[in-house]
Amino acid sequence: MHDEFLMGNEAIALGALAAGVNVVCGYPGTPSTEVLETVARRRGDRVYVEWSVNEKTAMEIAGGAAYAGARALVTMKQMGLNVASDPLMCLEYIGVKGGLVVLVADDPGPISSQTEQDTRFFAAFSKVPVLDPSSAEEAYRMVQEAFDLSEEYVTPVFLRPTTRVSHGYASLQVKDPGEYTVHEPEGFVKDSARWVIFPRLSFANHRKIEERNVRLQDVFSASPLNRIEPEDDACPCARKGIATGGFSYTYVMEAREQLGRLRTLKVSTPFPFPEKRAVEFLSGLDEVLCVEELDPVIERQLIYVCGKYGLTTRILGKMTGHMPLSGENSRDSVLSAIASFMNVPLPAASEEASDPPPALPVRPPVLCAGCPHRASFYAVKQAMKGRKTIFCGDIGCYTLGNAMPLDMVDTCLCMGAGLGIAQGINHLEKDRSCFAFVGDSTFFASALPGVVNAVYNQAEFTLIVLDNSTTAMTGHQPHPGTGRTMMGDVVEKVSIANVLRGIGVTAVETVDPLNYQAAVEVVRRTADLPGVKAIIFRSPCVALFRSASRVTIDPARCVGCKKCIREIGCPALSIRDGKAVADPAQCNGCTLCAQLCPTGAITGGEPHA
């Protein structure tokens, strides 16, 4: 064993390696991404790791490996679970041979997601057991337990951290590689009665699954995973208790130190729910406050337990208006909720300042200085000026093209949806010029069926592929178009242009968006062609391939018209004493601003024309 300072996601990766995981796959998504990256960095040569093209594929690969007796880990964010739900729902009915752990990171807030869906509910729906860690340390242990559970009960098992667990850091003790379990997969054994899903098999297995999950309730009730932190005898509210789980547990424990210790139930297996442990916790309590994020999962379960066992404890939480219905909890929000539940005053924090602070700047996230997406959006905007248009966006850094002054994202729904939405609108409004913007990684993950559909069903729209040779938003992962794999191999790149032509898109143009004139011309020439046409804007992400060059703005020639700032909103540009200046710490020398400046005041940077 040795000490390391680890992010929750890194701890999960090391836990999986310690458990002898053989295959790890997934698709990037905040806050889950670092798990797989850490496996790739720290694996021995016995472990196979890949970024799969999307979560559904990843789930199937992990399933296949588990059929062959391997220990497999598949990673994704909660949105990705929607994509992977088809194979997962069925896998639960078929079962596994080697342990299969499904890591799904939830995102209360939401901080970087489209929804606040709760994987604990998904667990109950799919009948897959779920472990819900409160800290990096717990996550490290739980992932190892999850593999054992999966093999013992022949089922996939969820591990569900939330953002603060995944991205929190702690110093913790982990095993040395020499202490790792070695898991030798037996290999796939043919048995069509086991591995081929037919209605009859599903019927038989459904019953077994339900019975097993009832058994698991008892197993989990007896497990230290679900524990009762006792009340202090001195505590003034002896007949009140708190039920919690996940990261909120850490807030509750801090509040206990400050306000007095109420009896506290920590639920680490929200499904199957540890009923007997809950009954033990509830006995003698008049009121329980449930402190959890996302959906009221523990709260509903406790209400159910009270009904089932004839208990009269009042269960308070989100459904009774005692806790907020959406968003993240915080140290302060939990402290004040518990204080008012206990009827005690809040400990004095800092004094509220009597005079209000000056108005604080709002800081919406923006595309990086020099980001090629800015140039792509701007070229399309200029080329289509005055026309009736719709710009359907997608998921990635380029969603930020919605911000002023670009204002180039009219819709955004989920991965790959922009193509479908553009087609839907096109069938209704033939006079509107419809555009769908998709990033290169998203293109491979979920845009292909949309292109095939459009070609087949004779839709008319322009597909814009923003190809920056990486998955930028989640921290730069490779994908099929980059020609690099997580095993460290350099492979043939899958060509986006060839894929599009193969599907039957006849007009496919590729252009460097940072060459402003050329980019605008390509858009003008292409957008009015009939049918489905595609423009690939190719230029690497500046956060990945940082350029050392910058522009300088000659104050003698700058007339202060602010055109550069008004038109493209690059964060490196600002006005000082009436003249534009480019911040050398941010500028990447993309020269987009220089190409717009009417007086030629901006020089330097990397030439693109």
């Binding site: 603060r164 702690a170 110093s171 801090e254």
Partner: protein, 189 residues
Amino acid sequence: MRKNIILCGVGGQGTVLASRLISAAAMARQIPVMSAETIGMAQRGGSVFSHLRMGENLFSPMIARGEADLILAFEPGEAVRMLPYLKKDGQMIVSSRPVMPVTASLAGNVYRAEDMLDYLRAHVSRLLIVDAEKALREVGSPKVLNLILLGAALKCGALGLEEADLKEAIRRQIPEKFHELNFRALAYE
């Protein structure tokens, strides 16, 4: 020893690395550390923070209002935003240089760093304002604000760590070609 430290600023300013260095230095002294920070979309120019806690018997890496012993603010507006977290007699170290959001430049409602600093002067008894413009110029790189602020925190004793601890952390966390520059920034006064 127990210490709660908040680092705050704007995405891209290097708060994460600074927090990583403090943690590594504390770990090397066998002090348990926990931290939490902004990762993801907000890193693209949004407000970012790191909460960092050192000491025994901590449950949560998050710091509550009025609990921070030290706030290391990379930007005056962000310093004001985080002020409610500062302990009554807590130390605040703030860079004087504002980072204007593009939206403010566009709308023409840029704020004045001086207003923010004045507000801090009126409300923080232990305030240290670092003239970032001057410091960066003298150290000779626009990208080492994080080390300059860490250096300031060291010198006023607010970190509970020694310069040698941080230097060792730099050696282990940062590529060698940057060591000289980083040491210089750390030692700047």
